[in-house]
Symmetry: C2
Subunit: 311 residues, 2 copies
């Protein structure tokens, strides 16, 4: 596996995608979690989203969280926005890096923001112009890129159509969201491979959920194509509303643990990230799905007088 | 990913490796689980182990389980044995396919069977001769092949030494056990690649635990090297004594779900395996780690009036 990227740029999305899918937690707790994450060596944190508080009450305190954290100069903080109004709020709050989101699947997009994919793309065109006017960058996240829980298969051609439109309107990067964990490695290889052919210079981020256990296998398939930009969530924070007990994003410490052992640098202090995962677990008051949080890294030794570990 | 194997041969190890690491369950429940698994299309089931009941009380009823099940002519049933005495019991019970186990790590082997790896290999030589004399086949499982929880790294040379010895003594196949989930994809590529170079015709099985979340990524790395024989445990049955809450084997239905979507046939009816996982969950009375058991396959549709599923 000598052709893997030498280093990854990871974006920690636990405070946003994670907490958005948990029971609401106090503002101070969010601030403490982001501060802990800021000290792990992770280079990017998606800190909040500016969505309507009626839609996602968990994010109603976005301004307070953002003004409350200790900003680490070595970390790039960003905010997710679902529409032009959210972008205005994020830019007014001082964010210089935002993520706009649109679903490749029309049905999912309508469920999320009550308009078609094409209508959201029109809104995003205005949003991109505004962000650039204000000196900010904006990545466009394509949700349901590997499948839609309502519609089923999402043809790669549909994803390419969204990407082409977003890039034509000035998107600074693209992220593919595997919203409900419908990706498998061969689908990653196909969609990412086709995207690379169409846009060789594109800054492409991948955002996997581990809803069906394939998260790290999907990362491996993407690494083999040279992708070096991934989202992950501390502790695997974030549930999945439609499937009680199912997990959300891939866990940051699991991703770091695997790729660092493969010689791929992340810049993240694994012990610090595991400690942050333990803090996140305390915060939400339920057992998080991260295996590395439970078992520790592979370098952890079992005391000799412990019971034997089977075969 | 066009060079993946067209089909896999999977061995279901839930009744043995799974239940061995759970609180004891009644004999009739084990029989019911094996009967359910026998109807899923899986081609091989490791049904029991013949270990000393003082060492593993969960397996004290191996004879009763074996005589109680409805044997499906399309399924190959096997038994795991830790030593010559266990092999005699398995052969006397009528098994024609057994697995002998030895740890590459001396410390792990001593903890398991109170003797060195070399001493176990001597015992296995006699065991192989006995099995062949009685018309049975015997695979040798090399535990801790990707690392030892007591010693740490296990050099591939040590694994090769065990394999060379077992093959010289007549082993019909080899399995590499990732006993405590210390494998990562690059380690799989290295060890399996070297093994293939040394023994191109070897029947090689891989037995991954998902203790640190890398199980399916390791499977992907092995598939890419042409490995087509894997162990898995229904529901991810089987804990890990040294790390409370950590998972055991990779879940059969997660493996089937991923590889079938990639065009790799398993012969297994995914719905039937998910139903068996639900039965296993009832049996042990705790939530099993399988994500596909929770979320269902990627083909499952969410009703349109369900709450939205995020990004």
């Amino acid at each position: 596996m000598s052709d893997l990227p030498a280093a990854l740029s990871l974006r920690e999305v636990g405070p946003r995608d994670g907490l958005q899918n948990e029971d609401p937690v106090p503002t101070e707790a969010k601030v403490a979690l982001i501060n802990a994450l800021s000290g792990t060596g992770v280079g990017r944190i998606e800190a909040v989203s500016f969505v309507h508080p009626k839609a996602i009450p968990q994010m109603a305190d976005a301004d307070a969280v953002w003004s409350g954290i200790d900003r680490n100069a070595a970390v790039r903080y960003s905010a997710l926005v679902p529409n032009l109004r959210g972008a205005q709020r994020a830019l007014d709050a001082g964010f210089t890096e935002i993520e706009a989101v649109v679903s490749a699947s029309d049905t999912h997009n309508r469920k999320n923001v009550n308009r078609s994919t094409a209508e959201s793309l029109d809104d995003i065109a205005a949003l991109l112009a505004l962000a650039h006017e204000r000196g900010a960058t904006c990545q466009v996240i394509v949700s349901t890129a590997f499948g839609c829980p309502y519609e089923g298969e999402v043809p790669p051609e549909r994803v390419h159509w969204v990407v082409d439109r977003a890039l034509a309107d000035g998107a600074d990067g693209i992220s593919y969201g595997d919203t409900t964990g419908m990706a498998t490695p061969s689908r990653v290889t196909q969609l990412v491979g086709e995207t690379r052919m169409r846009h060789p210079e594109l800054a492409l981020n991948l955002h996997f959920h581990n809803t069906r256990g394939t998260g790290l296998a999907n990362v491996l398939a993407a690494l083999q194509l040279g992708v070096s930009d991934f989202d992950a969530s501390v502790g695997g924070l974030g549930g999945c509303p439609y499937a009680p007990g199912a997990t959300g994003n891939i866990a940051t410490e699991e991703l770091v643990h695997m790729v660092e052992d493969m010689g791929v640098a992340t810049g993240i202090d694994l012990d610090a990230m595991i400690a942050a995962a333990a803090e996140a677990e305390q915060l939400v008051g339920r057992k998080l799905p991260s295996q590395v949080l439970r078992a520790g890294p592979r370098t952890r030794r079992t005391p000799l007088d412990d019971p034997v570990t089977g075969y």
